[in-house]
Structure formats: structure tokens, C-alpha cells
């Protein structure tokens, strides 16, 4: 088990990878199934992809979800970067422990609790101040920004922790003001982390069902909400096609990101 990578280790890890990928591969294969009955193979066909793009409900929800994901990922990237920077670069200040707790807790907080608490907050605010008037895109954006912010903060924080501070100190010694120091030195150095935080937020927002179900209003169904309501009734071939497209898009993005990161690392040295 210890010396070399013994066959037991390789075998058990191999099973693990098979476990990770078999369901996804089965899903992709069945999305090309001609038959209406999802499990009976009726030959290859692109029929369900055609039906998918004609399904107005799914297309509308996809548009709503994309919009929300773009806005929340961007907001989360800005706020999360600030939070990560404050936590790793600022001298101890009152409330630092609280802030670091508030940043890590949303990562593990069960979604039902986050969703319920935000909804009750929005309802209470509406009763007291008349804002936000009703629930919809904006309340979902606020909710998604809040939990995505935590992911960005953690990624940025770990990047900052691994960065050599001498560059920043040198800039300070040469008379850079804190703002120009941040924008000219720190920001470019942590840009890859912010980008990956943004991408992570984007996919998390696009994927969230539970929180969005709590804080969305009528007529603001996101894509996961539509998928969930369809899937609850059973397996549908259109959703197989949709899943395949989403998995394909994510795979291309992730592989591209890894290739870019590797190139950059090679360029910057170890």
C-alpha cells in the first residue's frame, strides 16, 4: 500500500473514478437516444436537442439564470476580493474573527437555512421599509452574491497567502499609495484567483436550486427550478440533452482554465 503505487491503490482509485464518471457518461449517451422511453435504446438521434431549443419555458429560464449568474458572479468577485484582501493583508482589527467566521460559514451552511433566512429577511424588510418590493431577479442576485462571495474570498485569500509580500513592500518603499499599490501590484498578481472565483461563482449561481426557490418571486423561475419541477415527475429526454450541453460547456471551460493556468505557471516559474 505504501511503497510505490501498488495495484490495490490503483484499483481502488480506479473504481472511485469510474464511480465519478459512469453516471455522467450514461446521461450523455442516453441524450442521443431516439426513443421516448429513456431507458430503451432506439438508435442515435439529435431529436431531443431540437425539442430542447423549442421548449420556451426552458429557454426563458435559461436566460433568467444566465443573467442572474453574470450579475451575482461579478458582484461576488468584487466583494469577495475585498473580503479576501482584508482578511489576509490587514493587520488585526476588531471584528476580524467575526468577518472570517462570516466568510467561511456560508461555505458549509445548509442551503435550506440560507434560503429561508434570506427570504424572511426580505419579507421583514419589505414590511418595514417597502424594499425590496416583491421578490424576483434582484433578491436572487443578492442571495447568490452572498454565498458566492465566500468562495471568492477563500480562493483570493489562499492566493494572497502564497504570494511573496516583498513585491508589495517594494512598491510601498518606492512611494506607492495604498490604492495604486493595490491596483498596480496586488490586483494583477491575484487576477487568476479572482477569475477562477468568478467562474466558480458563475457556475454555483447557475446551479442553485434551493436558495433560489426560497427567494424568487412568481414568474421568475430559474433554470434549476424548471429542471427540478420536470425531473421530479421522472426522467425526461429533453433534460438529458440539456444536461449534456451544460456538462460539455463546463468541461471545455474547465479544461481551458487548466491549460491557461499551466501555461502561466510555466511562464512565471515554479
Amino acid at each position: 500500500m505504501i511503497k510505490g503505487n501498488s495495484w490495490t491503490l490503483k484499483l481502488s482509485a480506479g473504481f472511485g473514478f469510474l464511480f465519478l464518471y459512469a453516471p455522467i457518461i450514461a446521461l450523455i449517451v442516453y441524450s442521443f437516444n431516439k426513443s421516448q422511453l429513456v431507458t430503451v435504446w432506439g438508435g442515435w438521434s439529435l431529436k431531443w436537442y431540437g425539442e430542447l431549443f423549442q421548449n420556451e419555458q426552458i429557454m426563458n429560464a435559461a436566460w433568467v439564470s444566465l443573467k442572474i449568474a453574470l450579475i451575482s458572479a461579478t458582484l461576488a468577485a468584487v466583494l469577495g476580493t475585498i473580503a479576501g484582501f482584508v482578511l489576509s493583508r490587514m493587520r488585526k482589527f476588531r471584528g476580524k474573527t467575526i468577518l472570517s467566521g462570516w466568510v467561511t460559514a456560508p461555505l458549509v451552511m445548509p442551503e435550506v437555512i440560507t434560503g429561508l433566512s434570506l427570504l424572511l429577511l426580505f419579507v421583514a424588510l419589505e414590511n418595514m421599509f417597502g424594499w425590496p418590493a416583491g421578490r424576483g431577479t434582484m433578491t436572487i442576485v443578492i442571495a447568490h452574491t452572498t454565498f458566492c462571495l465566500a468562495y471568492v474570498a477563500v480562493v483570493v485569500q489562499s492566493r494572497l497567502a502564497s504570494l511573496d509580500e516583498t513585491l508589495e513592500e517594494a512598491a510601498m518603499d518606492l512611494g506607492a499609495k495604498p490604492t495604486s499599490l493595490f491596483f498596480l501590484i496586488t490586483l494583477p498578481l491575484i487576477a487568476p484567483a479572482i477569475l477562477s472565483g468568478w467562474l466558480l461563482s458563475f457556475t454555483l449561481s447557475l446551479d442553485d436550486l434551493v436558495i433560489a426557490s426560497f427567494v424568487s418571486g412568481p414568474g421568475n423561475s430559474t433554470l434549476p427550478m424548471v429542471i427540478f419541477s420536470k425531473v421530479r415527475l421522472g426522467v425526461t429526454p429533453e433534460i438529458n440533452a440539456l444536461a449534456t450541453l451544460m456538462i460539455l460547456a463546463v468541461s471545455i471551460a474547465v479544461i481551458a482554465a487548466i491549460v491557461i493556468m499551466r501555461r502561466q505557471n510555466r511562464f512565471q516559474g515554479p
Partner: protein, 312 residues
């Protein structure tokens, strides 16, 4: 992990001393994430707590106000009821739901660890290229939709799904098994979807491990298995704790997996909360369920944060 040593040269003011001179700007920067998280993460819990103390009623919003203003006497009376909490503790149903969630989450976490450890170990011990490839293979499912990955299992586990077809074709069973809508399917779903959360922290600690320690143990005559138990496992402890908490805590409150893969008798507290809120529209009771769940989870969350401080 967040502390940074000030430069030793005292003639040169440190980064932080210079920041200090710009107090106002500094506080503004700190306040931005602080205020956002206070408003949308912390205060919501207070609102949930407040509503858990009120009574459900048919109104918009469907709960009684905590303060009642009496215009005649100009007195505000505080109306607090612990009825929701009493109801939670008196009824067997909720207690069972909490216990069963904890049990399901604990068992799934254990199996996630068993399956995740060899993968993390193999990745940590691979060459650089292989390492990137394997790591990407772990990260890729992590980025694909959670909902769709749960859905993928629905198609596999159905009565006439792939798993049953394969088992029947190799002659292991004569009749399709009822796998979907059982507790087993819920375990499977949790292990499957949370596996990357276990592998990544495990990999981080295993990667940093000094292999010469294991060699030393073996040179001193420890059998591989013994060396693994006495050297590798203790060194991997921070990663094990972090991974287990990252799986266990969200799994306790899981809703999607029991809703799609579980049966009607699969009791999980996240699902109970959801039904209480969306089906029964009992907001105060749902709030009380959430508060008790938070109290149950505070211990593990603290444990995780302390573990992080020590280990990562």
C-alpha cells in the same frame, strides 16, 4: 495562517504601519464586505429566530407580530411563544428527522472518506503531469451541475434503469430491485455529489506529506499497513477533518438528494423544513426547525474552523 511577519528592519515602516496611517480608507475597505455579510448573512438569522418565536396565522406574511401595539393604553406588548420549539421536542417526528439526518450524513461521510482517500492518495503520489490530469478529473464533476448529477442517478437506479438491467443481464438478480426511492439511493447520492469536497482537502494535506517518514517507518520494520495507520493517517488528520466537515455539515441539511432519490419515508430535516415552509406554509415552525438545525451544526462548524487553523 493569516498573520504576516513584519519586516525586521525597523527603520522601514511595515506595510501595516503605513496602512494604519490611512485609517479612514482602511475602515471603508473593511466595512464593505463586513456590512454586506452582516446584512445578508448574519441579520437574517436574527430574523429567523424572531419569527420562530411567533405564531403561524393566516395573513401576509403568515406569522403573528412579535410586538402588539395597543392604541388605547399606548403600551406595546411583547408576544413571545416557545410553542414552536415545544412542538418540535414533543413530537417524535421532528426528533426522528434530526436523528435520521445526522445518521444519514455520518454514514455517507464515512463512505465518502473510504472512497475518496485512495483517490487523493494516488493523486498526491503521481508525477506532475499525471497529477494535473487526475486532479482535473476530480475537479470537473465538482464544476458540473449538482442537480444534474443527482438526476443522472435517477436514470441509472430506476426499475428499468441501467443498474438493474446490468445486474439482471449478468444473472445476479431475476427481478429488478427497488433502488430508487430508498435510503440507499440517498447515501449513494450524497457520496457521489460530495466526493470532490472530500478529495480536494485530503489531497492538499497528503501532497505536503514527507514521504521519507513512511520510508523510515518501513526501514524500522513496520509493515506497510502498520506504517499507513501509524504515520500516514495521523499526518493526514487535518485533511480528513476538513473533508469530513465539508461533507457532513451540508449533507445534514440536504434537500435535493432526499427529494429526488429518497423514498417518501426517507426522513431528512432539510426536506422537513422545505415541506413545512412550502407545503404547510407554517413559517414560524420552519424557522424553529432551522434554528435547532443551526444549534446542532454549530459544534461541527466550530470544529472545522479550529481544525483549519491548526492544519491548513
Amino acid at each position: 495562517m493569516m498573520t504576516t511577519s513584519a519586516p525586521s528592519d525597523s527603520s522601514r515602516p511595515s506595510l501595516f504601519q503605513r496602512f494604519k496611517s490611512r485609517r479612514l480608507g482602511r475602515w471603508l475597505v473593511i466595512m464593505v464586505p463586513m456590512l454586506w455579510l452582516a446584512a445578508f448573512f448574519f441579520i437574517p438569522f436574527l430574523v429567523v429566530f424572531k419569527i420562530s418565536l411567533s405564531e403561524a396565522m393566516i395573513a401576509i406574511p403568515p406569522y403573528s407580530p412579535l410586538f402588539e401595539w395597543d392604541p388605547d393604553s399606548a403600551f406595546a406588548t411583547l408576544k413571545v411563544t416557545f410553542g414552536n420549539y415545544l412542538f418540535l421536542f414533543e413530537s417524535r417526528f421532528y426528533l426522528d428527522a434530526y436523528l435520521s439526518s445526522l445518521r444519514i450524513a455520518a454514514i455517507s461521510t464515512f463512505f465518502t472518506l473510504i472512497i475518496g482517500f485512495p483517490i487523493a492518495y494516488l493523486i498526491a503520489r503521481s508525477g506532475p503531469t499525471m497529477r494535473t490530469v487526475l486532479l482535473s478529473l476530480v475537479i470537473l464533476p465538482f464544476w458540473t451541475s449538482f442537480l444534474l448529477r443527482v438526476y443522472a442517478w435517477m436514470a441509472l437506479l430506476k426499475k428499468n434503469g441501467l443498474v438493474n438491467e446490468v445486474l439482471m443481464s449478468i444473472g445476479l438478480i431475476d427481478q429488478p430491485l427497488q433502488i430508487l426511492q430508498t435510503d440507499f439511493a440517498v447515501y449513494l447520492g450524497i457520496v457521489y455529489t460530495y466526493l470532490p469536497f472530500m478529495i480536494l482537502p485530503l489531497y492538499t494535506t497528503l501532497e505536503k506529506m514527507d514521504l521519507s517518514l513512511i520510508e523510515a517507518a518501513q526501514d524500522l520494520g513496520a509493515k506497510p499497513w502498520r506504517a499507513f495507520c501509524l504515520v500516514t493517517l495521523p499526518l493526514a488528520k487535518p485533511g480528513i477533518i476538513a473533508g469530513c466537515m465539508l461533507v457532513f455539515i451540508p449533507a445534514v441539511g440536504e434537500y435535493v438528494i432526499p427529494a429526488l432519490l429518497g423514498g417518501s419515508d426517507t426522513l431528512m430535516i432539510g426536506r422537513v423544513l422545505w415541506d413545512e415552509f412550502f407545503l404547510n406554509r407554517d413559517w414560524p415552525l420552519a424557522s424553529a426547525v432551522a434554528i435547532v438545525m443551526l444549534i446542532v451544526l454549530v459544534g461541527p462548524i466550530m470544529f472545522m474552523r479550529n481544525g483549519n487553523k491548526e492544519g491548513l
